[in-house]
Amino acid sequence: MNIVKKFSVGAWITLAAAVLALASVIVYAVNIGSAGYFQNAAVTNIIPLCALAAAALAAAVVLGQVKLSGPAFTAMELVTGVLQVCAPVLLTLCLASLAAARAEGLGFIYFSNADVILEVQTPANLASAAGTIANMACLGAAALAGIVGAFCGLRKKER
C-alpha cells in the first residue's frame, strides 16, 4: 500500500474521475436496458469512449507514481499529461453526445402538450428520463473531476 500513500490530492481526484466515468457506463447501460422511453436508444460510441476515458485516467494515476529520472521521467510526464488532458475531453464529448441525443426525448417527456402528457409521462418513461439525467450528471461530474485533476500533479512531492 506504499504506492497509495504517495498519491497526491490530484491523484485522488483523477481516480474519482475514473470511478465516475465507470459509473456513467453502468448508469447508461442500465438506462437503455430498462423499460421506458430510452430503452434500446443507444448512443454511438458512448461506452467505448467512457471506458477509454476511465482507462486513461487510471493509467495516468498509475504512471504518475512511477519513479524515473532524466529523459524517461520527462517522457513519462508527457504521456501522463496527455492522458490527463484527453480523458476529460472524451468525457465531455460523451456528455455532449448524450445531451444531443436525448434533448428531443426529454422535451417530449417533460414538455408535451396537455393532450398527451398523461400518455407520455408513464412511470417507466419518467424513470427512463431520470436515468438519462443521472447519466448526464455522472458524466459531467467525471469530466469536471478530470479537468480539476489535470491541474494537479499525481504524486506527492518528496521532501
Partner: protein, 1044 residues
Amino acid sequence: MRAKSFAPVMRGIAAVMACVLVLSLVGAGVADSFRTRIDDALGTTSYVTSTDADAARFKSDYATIDDMIAAAKALAVKEGEEGTVIMKNDNGALPLAEGGSVALFGLAAYAPYPYASGDLKAGNEDAVDLLQALTEAGVNVNETVRDFYLNKVLNKHTEEVPNRWTGELETQVAYDNIYVAAPGDMAEYQIVEVPPEKFGEMGAPADWKSSIDKANTTGICVFARGAGEGNTYAPGSALDYEGNATGKDPLALSDDELAVIDAAKETCSKVVVLINSGNTMVLKDIAKGGAHEVDGIAYIGVINDYQCTGIVRVLTGQVNATGALPDTYVADNASIPAVMNFGGGYYADYEIVGRSDDPRYPGVDIANTTAGSFGGSNTYNGGHFIVEAEGIYVGYKYFETRYYDCVMNPGSKANSAKGATQGSAWDYNAEVLYPFGHGLSYLDYTQTLKSVDVDKTPEGNVTAVVELKNNSGQDGCFLAQLYVQQPYTDYDRQNNVEKSAVMFLNSAKTQVKAGGTAQVTITVPTKYLASYDYTNAKTYILDAGDYLFTAAPGSHAAVNNFLAHQGKTASDGMDAQADGAVLTWNLSSLDKDTFSVENGTKVTNAADDADLNYWTGGNTVTYLSRQDWEGTYPINYNADVEVKLADSPRKDEWIAQLRGQTYTIRTDSPAAEGGDKGVRFDTTHIQYDQLSDVNDPFWNTLVSGITIDEAVGAVIHGGSRSDVLTNVDNPIVIQNEGVSGFTAKYEDEASGKSYRFNVHSQTLLASSFNPELAYEWGRVEGNSGLWLQRYHLWGTGLTQRRTPYNGRNYEYISEDPMLTNRMGCGILQGCADMGILNGPKHMGFNDQEHNRGGVSAYMNEQKFRETDLRGFQGGLEDADGMAVMIAFNRIGATNASHHVGMLQRILRDEWGYTGLISTDMMNNKYYFNAESMVMAGITQVADFGGDDNHITLGEGGVDATWEYISPAAVENDSALVEQARQNLKYQLYTYANSAIMNVSTEKVATWWDDALRNATYASGALAAVAAAAWVVLTVLPDKKKEEV
C-alpha cells in the same frame, strides 16, 4: 517561483479549453437542429427570403431541354434494367447466347402492353419497342416469324375512336388482332392470342417452322394482360381466341397461349416466356413440372417508351438481373384468402337505405343500388359490401406465415385442407410458384446480414448492414433485401394481434467487383416493427421477445432462415436448407408506450366502425388468424352469411352512414364573415417563418379573410384547378394526371421540339426493389414539372395490391405495404425536392375498381393501419409528400372522403401531414356529401369545374351541385365554415412551399451562431497554446528553466 510549477496549470488550461472546444463543436450541431426554436426564444432570425427571380428555391437539375430529355430516357432504361425479373432460368436459357437467334411469338412481342399512348405510355417518336431493342442489341430475330406476325396477324393501322371522356374522335393505333387492353368491369375477358392452328389460314408461310434454326434459336413468347381505370378482372371469366367461354381464370395462360408456347418449343431449342402485365398472372402450366414447362420466365411489367432497351440488356446479359417480384405468384388465385371476399354483393335488405324523403333532396327518389364506375343514377350506392376478413394476411404474409406454422406450429392446423387448391392438404410448394422478392441473378452471390441496430425511440431507425459477396468472375450489381420476424406472443393470441412470420422491411442495391464484397446499409423507421393492437391496448405495441432479422433473396428464403435459426430442419418439414445469418434484437417486456404517441397525438383506434362486427353487434366476421388456420379461414360474407341492416343494434346509425349523413349542418352558431385582413398570398407576407410553420398566425389571418361563400365553395368545388380567392389572391394551380409522369407535352419554341415526359413504368420501378431509383424517378418527374411549368400532378399510386384482379394494379407498387412505403417515400421525396406536388392515389382501400364509387370495405383496425395506410405512410409522413388523393370506396360504411378517423386523426394529427387532400372524381352527389367532406378535412373535391368556387351558382342562388348548400344554409355553422378555411389553409401553405411560389430563403448567421463560432476558434487556439506551453515547460531542462 520556478517556471516548471506552471506546467500543471498549462495542462489544466489545455484540458479546460479542449473541453470547451468539444462543447462548442457539438453544441453548434445541436443548436442548428433546434434553430427555429432557438430563434423563437431569442428573437433572432436565421433565414431571409429572397424574391430575386434568379434565386428561385427550386431550379431544374438540367441546363437544357436536351439534358432533361436525356435524363428521363436514361431513367426509363434503368427501370427496364433493374425491374426485369428472371423468375425461372433453366438450361442456360438466359442470358441469350451471343450470336444466337430468337424467334418472337405472341402478339405482345410485337406490340408490348400498352401499345397505345396515353396515361401509361408517352408515345414519343423515338420510343423503342421490344423488337427494335433486340435488333439494336445485335440479336438476330427470325424474319419469317416476325414478318408473319407483323403483316398477317397484327397488321398495325390507325382507327378513329371516340375519346373515353369527351366522345371526340381521335386517331389511335389499332391492330387486326391484339390483346384486350381493358378487361372491363368484371366482364368476360377475351384472350385474343392467335393459336398456331390459325397461322396457316392467316397466311403464314408453309415453311415457317423450318425457317427457324432450332438448335441456335431461343423462342421468346410474350403475353400481356390489359388493365385500366374502372376495370376489374372477374375470376373464371376467360374467353378464348374464338370468343368461347373457357371457365378459366383470365389471368391464367389460355389454351391458345399455351399452344403458342408449344409451337415455340417445337421449333426452338429453348423457350423463354416474358410476362407483360401489371396484374400477377397464373403460370402453373409453364413453371417447373407444368405440362408446358418452359426454360425461362421473366417478368417485364407494363412497358413505356424506353424500358425495352433496359429489358433487353438484361435478357442479353449486358447487365446482371437484379429485379425481384413485388407479388407472390401462385398456382391458383383461388388460394389467396382475400379472393374469398372480392367483388362484393348486396346486404340482404339493402333497399331500406333508399328513400324519397331525404330532407336534403326533397321529392327525389334515391335508391341504394350500385352505380357505374363513373356514377350515373340517383343512388346512395351503399348497397354493396365486401369483408376483408384476411386481415393483414395479404400476399406472402399469408403464404409464408402458413408455411412457417406448418413447420413450427402444426397445432395451428396450417396444413389442413382449408384454402388448399392443389391437394387435400395445404402445401406451400404446391400453392406458391414464385414467392415475393424472388428474382434470379445471373451472377452468383450471397447476401449476409452483418449487423443490425435498433433505435427504439419514436423517431428511431433500424439500421442494418448487409454484406454482398460477388462469387462470380464478373463485376455486377446486386440486390439486398432485409426481413424481420416479430415475436408472436401469448399476449397477441389473447388479444387477436396477428403477426406475419416474415415481414419485408427495405432493400438496396450496389455494385460489387468480381470476387469482391461490398456492404450496404439499409435503414427503416423502427415504428414499422410495431403492430397495431385494436382490441386491448388500442395503440401500437412492441411485443416482448426476440426480433429476428435476416437478409435474403425473397420472403421464402427469409422465413427459412428464421426456421433454421430456430433449430428446424427438413425433418421438421422445411423445404430447403437455410444457412443465412439471422441476428436478434431482444425486447425484455411488452412496450405499449413508445409508439402510442405520434407527433404529439395519442394513437388510438380511429376506425372501430370499419369492422362489420361493430354494426352487427356480434361475431359475424371471423378474421383469419394463425391461431387456427382452418377455423378462421375466410368464408364469403356475401354468399355464406346473410347480413341484414335491419337486424343491427345500430340500425339507424348504420343507415345514416350509408346515406352519407355523417354530419348535420348546425343553425345555431353564426360564422364570422371574411373580409380584407390586410394580408395576401405573396412574398411580402410569406417569409421563412410562414413557409416553415403551418401554425404561424399568418395563415389563420389569411384564411379568415375568405368569405363564407368562397371558403365552402372552394373546398367542395376544388375542380381540376384552384380558383383565385377574394382577399387572398392565391395563384391558379392546374392539376395534372399521370401515373407515369406529366402527360402534358413540352413544346420548345426555340428548337421546335416537343416531348412527353410520362416515360415511367410503375410496375418496373416496383420490381426494381430500389428505393434510390424511386427517388431518382421522383426527381426526374419533378424536374419535368419545372420544365412544363406545371406543379401539381396525381403522379403515382400507392394502394396495396390486395388481389391480382384489380384493374389499377399497374398503378400500384406491390402486395406488400413496406415495399410500397419505401418506394412511395422515394418518389414523393424526389418530387418534393423539386417543389412539385405529387399526389399518390388512392388512399383508403381502392381494392377493386368494381363498384368503387360506393362499395363498403369492412375490416378490423389492424388491417386498416398495417396494410393500405402503411403503404402511404412513407411518402406522406416520412417524406415530404404534399398531396394525396383519397379512394372512391367506403371504409366500413363511411365514404373514405368523409372518414374523419383516417383523414384528421391519422393523416393530419398522427402523421403530421400538412399537404392537400383531394377526393377522387366526385361523380355522385348522393354518395359524396359536401359538409361531410369539409368536416373530414378534404381540401378540394375533385370535379371538372373551373372558376366555380362559390355555393351560389345554382338556380335560386344555391349551390349548383348540392342544392341544400347555400350561404344562408351554412352561415350559422361556424365549425363547418372554420373547418373549410382550415382545409384551405393547408392547400395554400402547400402551394407556398412548392415551385408554384418558388421563393428561396437564405440562411444568415445570428449572434449566437457567431458566439458559438468564436468560442470554437478561441477555445481551439487557447487549447493549442496552453498545450504547447505545457509541453515546453515539461520538456525544458530544470536548469534552463531556472534561467528563464
